[in-house]
């Protein structure tokens, strides 16, 4: 029922021209104009001032960052019980209106309620109430954004998922876990030596990464809720580029123990690695397809770094990229239709996207130092590291490259992002 209402809503409700009202206090740097953005009015939740988090603004920023919404503030603050004045809203050219309220309960928790209205068909699209303590208010806002996103686009929202990234301040290297918007960051690891390539396990409980704290690259697996970690790969030589299999039972890693950088599969509990690739040169940056049947990786076997594909139990290797002389860091969309990667053009390193059905390639960014792309778990956004005005930054972009957003958070060095999975209850 809901899905069909959404479909009809989308069909009937495509009109444009809403003006964007900036939420001045909440800094979100978003640029670009999408082709089919849904104009949605987001009225300040009634009583929102009492909450220590700007819930309305977090929801609006989430929806803006998705590239699929154009938000505006209709100027009225009405709660979820009040039927809006549809005639006035229609004149503002918005298709949907989010209303809600925030109340503080006697025990210190907050009751946050919302309701979404179809302002084209004068229709109530439903709502929900959340009871939460202060530390979870951002999560509630992200959940509301997820629900609005799903009601209006039919796709699952990713705003309540988490990302990981690395920062460096002098000799202090830190591994962070934050909300998908880069806020609410919690430190998982602090080290005097570099950390690279953090990668979420498919269940979202663990991170695999490369740490140099033992004066060489060693792969660790780190349980983020307990802080317990274990060495996954510390073989003679270098150990790097961990990538989880979709079932979480094993990881592909790059090891040099047999000479050269080659890809091996190792059980997540440890044990003897099984070699997958056989070349005299570099094979690295493995990533599994979402069905686990194949691995994409980077190899210089053809003279320059290019992306290849191999069955995950080994076998014939197939070349995937042919344009240019430097294509690295492949990552696959959950539906397997897209491969994002970094391609060098002159002195620029650009986030590129290949349609794996047609092999058509598009360049997605205006920036020139792009690194380490990863897809949102719904496949609708790509997270990557880059430089903006000479400073390291994390950004997201839509798959058409039309809408990009700079994630807030740390200021000086920030890199190596990886987008975590949808979390199961």
């Amino acid at each position: 029922m809901t899905r069909l209402v959404i479909a009809l809503f989308a069909l009937l409700g495509l009109c444009f021209g809403a003006t964007h009202t900036a939420y001045a206090e909440f800094k979100v740097e978003i640029s670009g104009v999408g082709i089919t953005q849904i104009p949605i009015g987001i009225s300040e939740f009634k009583g929102a001032d009492i909450a220590p988090q700007k819930i309305t603004q977090i929801v609006a920023a989430d929806l803006e960052r998705s590239g699929q919404f154009k938000t505006s503030n209709p100027g009225t603050s009405i709660d979820e019980n009040t039927r809006p004045d549809f005639a006035t809203l229609k004149s503002k050219n918005i298709d949907g209106l989010l209303t809600g309220s925030v109340n503080r309960l006697a025990d210190g928790r907050y009751d946050i309620r919302y309701r979404l209205w179809d302002t084209v068909r004068n229709q109530d699209l439903g709502g929900q109430s959340f009871i939460a303590f202060t530390p979870d208010l951002r999560l509630v806002a992200h959940r509301i954004a997820d629900q609005i996103y799903e009601k209006m686009t039919g796709d699952k929202g990713i705003f309540s998922t988490r990302i990981t990234y690395i920062t460096q301040h002098a000799n202090r290297h830190m591994l962070w876990v934050s909300d998908a918007d880069g806020e609410n960051a919690q430190a998982a690891l602090t080290s005097p030596e570099p950390i690279i390539s953090p990668s979420w396990s498919p269940n979202g409980n663990e991170l695999a990464y490369v740490s140099f704290e033992g004066r060489k690259p060693v792969v660790y697996i780190h349980d983020v809720s307990t802080g317990k970690r274990r060495v996954l790969a510390n073989f003679r030589g270098s150990n790097s580029a961990p990538a989880w299999s979709p079932d979480g039972k094993s990881l592909a890693v790059t090891l040099t123990k047999e000479g050269g950088s080659q890809i091996f599969i190792i059980d997540a509990k440890g044990g003897d690695p099984r070699r997958i690739t056989q070349s005299g040169g570099i094979d690295t940056e493995p990533v599994f397809t979402s069905d686990g049947s194949a691995i994409y990786f980077v190899s210089d076997r053809g003279g320059s770094p290019q992306i290849y594909r191999i069955p995950s139990f080994g076998g014939p290797v197939q070349r995937v990229t042919f344009n240019g002389t430097y294509n690295i860091s492949p990552t696959l969309s959950p539906d397997g239709k897209w491969m994002a990667y970094i391609s060098r053009a002159g002195n620029s390193f650009k986030l590129s996207l290949m349609d794996l059905v047609t092999d058509k390639v598009t360049t997605l960014t205006e920036t020139t130092h792009d690194e380490k792309p990863s897809f949102a778990p719904n496949g609708k956004l790509i997270l990557y590291a880059t430089k903006v005005q000479g400073k390291e930054a994390l950004m997201t972009t839509t798959l058409d490259g039309k809408i990009s957003a700079k994630l807030s958070g740390q200021t000086s060095t920030i890199r190596e992002p990886h987008w975590g999975p949808f979390l199961k209850p």
Partner: protein
């Protein structure tokens, strides 16, 4: 989606519009929902259609909070064996050209001096640490740095050094010798270092 269903839906929608919902009569009912711990995004959440009232969920402290780990000061003390100093008065760094792991002739004497030391001291353990400049991807640079370390090891074994004495590792672009993003810094960063354990 068949046509009948769509028609039915349209009818439903129209009915809903026609009947309307009176102001202030959209109740928010507190159905005690299932727990929503950190990051869950759906289970127990009833799909709310236009005629439904709201359901309620308890949002609890996220189970998956992040426990910080501090490994600062965990540096392992290096072997205090006198062999860990390596050969006296010998350079411990060789430099490479861009995108290259060929050993330049001017570093051959350095490699020969280390080879001599390693052959004279069977118990000496050498770690060759490869590095790159900052251009390019971090993991690919790690593999390039490895190639540089491997090239130096090959130079040593060609001179008769036992390969078991030498471990090759890479730091990629992670440990630049010199900060900066011009060739003067890059050329100092494309290197392999001799580290005796």
């Amino acid at each position: 989606m068949n046509k009948t269903f769509i028609s039915l839906l349209l009818a439903l929608l129209l009915t809903a519009c026609a009947s309307g919902v009176k102001l202030n009569e959209v109740p928010v009912v507190d159905k005690k929902g299932s727990d929503v711990s950190s990051g869950t995004s759906g289970s127990g959440m009833s799909e709310i259609s236009s005629s439904d009232s709201s359901s309620s969920q308890q949002v609890q402290q996220p189970k998956s909070s992040v426990e910080p780990v501090n490994s600062l000061g965990n540096d392992k003390a290096s072997n205090q064996d006198n062999l860990s100093a390596g050969p006296a008065n010998v350079e411990k760094i060789v430099y490479f050209d861009y995108d290259s792991y060929t050993i330049k002739p001017e570093f051959q004497s350095t490699i020969e001096a280390h080879a001599q030391f390693l052959k004279a001291n069977n118990r000496a353990k050498l770690s060759l640490e490869g590095h790159t400049d900052e251009r390019g991807g971090r993991e690919y640079n790690l593999a390039l740095g490895q190639k540089r370390a491997d090239a130096v090891r090959q130079g040593l074994t060609l001179l008769g050094v036992n390969a078991a004495q030498v471990e090759t590792v890479s730091f990629g672009e992670e440990k630049p010798a010199m900060q900066g993003n011009d060739e003067s810094a890059f050329s100092k960063n494309r290197r392999a270092e001799f580290f005796y354990k």
